[in-house]
């Protein structure tokens, strides 16, 4: 191994355990500097997690969040310089983090913060206009495939994490006191026109969009929605999703250029 590689191995280990690398000078003189580097690295990673999971931090407070983030750094580390990507495993980590046991909705809220980043940085694309389906004959409608917008992220949660997330996501002011119906919910997070927006979904709405995401035509998506909830008002759901900006225009959905 080259001397430079050996130094980098030793220094990278020292960043984790805090002891200066041996053989590069008087350890006592190196220690103060090692502390500076270590503090900067940990602060950089902690700041990245805070920036990427602002709703989690608001719900649990800065001190709790910092403790959870430090515990997370025992099991994960940034892999590249684009720190927006850091913390992909944080939602799953929170699901197994003993102090979060009573906060069953927290991993869901963390997943939604991730959805936000993914949506925020996804490719730009046009949106299916309201009324675009109005002129289509009903028999064609069922064969039509609606493709989700490239910024769309879809999830189903065993608790009202989507409602809790929507109410608490900064920069909106924290709500005073909220009554939340405790039930399973879905969420659609997307960036159809500039800003990231979110929709809380019931079982039928989620099943419909999930079928669209799988590439099923409208007929199949409608069946999926009605299987989830036989009482579902399908045309109301579809109109709401189109108004929200959930889909790509038909042109690109049908005549999508090859790779």
């Amino acid at each position: 191994m080259s001397s430079l590689a050996a130094f980098q191995d030793a220094f990278a280990a020292a960043l984790r355990d805090g002891r200066p690398p041996r053989g590069y000078g008087d350890p006592a003189r190196l220690e103060a500097g090692m502390t500076v580097y270590r503090n900067t690295v940990f602060k950089g990673l902690l700041d990245a997690l805070r920036a990427n999971f602002p709703t989690v931090e608001r719900l649990v407070g800065a001190e709790w969040f910092s403790a959870a983030a430090h515990a997370y750094l025992e099991v994960d580390w940034a892999r590249g310089p684009s720190l927006m990507a850091f913390g992909e495993g944080f939602p799953d980590f929170l699901a197994t983090f003993p102090p979060a046991e009573a906060l069953s909705y927290l991993p869901g809220v963390a997943s939604l913060d991730r959805f936000w980043i993914e949506s925020h940085t996804a490719a730009d694309a046009p949106v299916l206009a309201s009324g675009a389906l109005a002129d289509l004959p009903p028999d064609r409608l069922f064969e039509l495939t609606l493709r989700l917008h490239p910024s769309a992220r879809l999830g189903w949660f065993p608790d009202p994490a989507p409602t809790i997330w929507r109410l608490n996501r900064p920069p909106a002011p924290a709500p005073d006191e909220v009554q939340v119906d405790w039930r399973a919910e879905g969420a659609l997070v997307a960036r159809p026109w500039g800003d990231v927006v979110a929709l809380v979904l019931d079982a039928a709405g989620f099943a419909f969009l999930k079928a669209c995401w799988r590439g099923e035509p409208l007929g199949g998506a409608a069946t999926a929605a009605l299987t989830a909830d036989p009482q579902a008002d399908l045309s109301r759901h579809i109109a709401a999703f189109i108004d929200f900006g959930a889909f790509e225009p038909l042109q690109s959905a049908i005549g999508r250029p090859g790779p």
Binding site: D9, A12, Y24, A78, P81, S82, D195
Partner: protein
């Protein structure tokens, strides 16, 4: 418009930055924050670029690691260079990525001849991938490592000679390193020929919480210190005007406060003879 003094771009200052008419004002960003598929970040930078020169100042290439630069990262950087036509692209004489882990800091190393060979090769690769020369910035140093074969200026000038890169001289980093390691910042700066300097950085530093003024930290969290301004004036008087950036990343003040620091640099530049060393064709 010839870029004079610039500011690190802060998205929270977008509206004021767009509206600002200061002559020669330019903006610098970390390209890593814009390596995304789409969305408002890129849209903001597009809008800003319409009326202002832009500099891409990388923090993630890890040129001083004993490893090739990540080709995927280079490709993303190249895409941004093609899209935004920055007037300067820069990186650091430091490492951050190692063995698949990224440490968000600019880390030191013993400046051996072997390290020089490796870093020169990494700069060559970077410049070949980007199709243009880059500037390399001197780091802030915090520990007296042993095992250097060359001092920092010798090392940097050797990189310039071998690769055709230029230097981004961070005057605050020189001041911070000089204080922490005990050398003369004037002697350091005097040893750098003006012909190698393509850009200058100015920033504020903070005394260490425990050791005070004996250990300065390059926090970018305070206004530029007076001794750093004096070093800057001395440097400009010697080498002439160079595009100069005010960096601020912590405790970010109002756009107006940053602009007045920037204006101070612009006044000093206007006093210096414009480009005493015009042979910066490679930059």
């Amino acid at each position: 418009m010839r870029p004079t003094a610039g500011l690190g771009f802060k998205p929270e200052h977008f509206d004021e930055a767009m509206a600002c008419q200061a002559v020669g004002l330019w903006f610098e960003v970390h390209p890593e924050n814009y390596m995304v598929a789409g969305g408002p970040r890129l849209a903001m930078l597009e809008a800003l670029r319409c009326d202002h020169e832009l500099s891409l100042h990388g923090v993630g290439l890890s040129l001083a690691a004993d490893a090739d630069p990540d080709p995927a990262h280079l490709a993303r950087l190249k895409a941004l260079v093609d899209r935004f036509s920055p007037f300067v692209v820069s990186e650091h004489l430091a490492w951050s990525a190692w063995q698949g882990a990224y440490n968000p800091d600019l880390l030191p190393f013993p400046r051996t001849r072997a390290a020089l060979d490796r870093i020169a090769a990494n700069i060559d690769r970077t410049q070949a991938a980007l199709g243009r020369a880059i500037l390399v910035e001197n780091p802030s140093l915090y520990m007296p490592l042993e095992g250097h074969d060359l001092d920092e200026v010798e090392f940097l000038l050797e990189l310039v000679r071998r690769t055709g890169c230029g230097l981004l001289v961070d005057v605050n980093n020189v001041f911070v390193s000089a204080c922490n390691l005990g050398f003369s910042p004037e002697a350091y700066l005097d040893a750098v020929p003006g012909s190698a300097i393509g850009e200058i950085h100015l920033a504020g530093h903070t005394p260490d919480g425990r050791l005070g003024e004996r250990l300065l930290i390059d926090t970018h969290g305070a206004p530029v210190a007076e001794p750093v301004w004096r070093l800057y004036e001395r440097l400009i008087a010697r080498v002439g005007a160079r595009p100069t950036l005010i960096e601020r990343d912590e405790d970010i003040p109002s756009f107006g406060d940053l602009l007045s620091e920037r204006d101070r640099a612009a006044e000093i530049l206007a006093g210096g003879s414009l480009s005493a060393d015009p042979d910066l064709a490679h930059v």
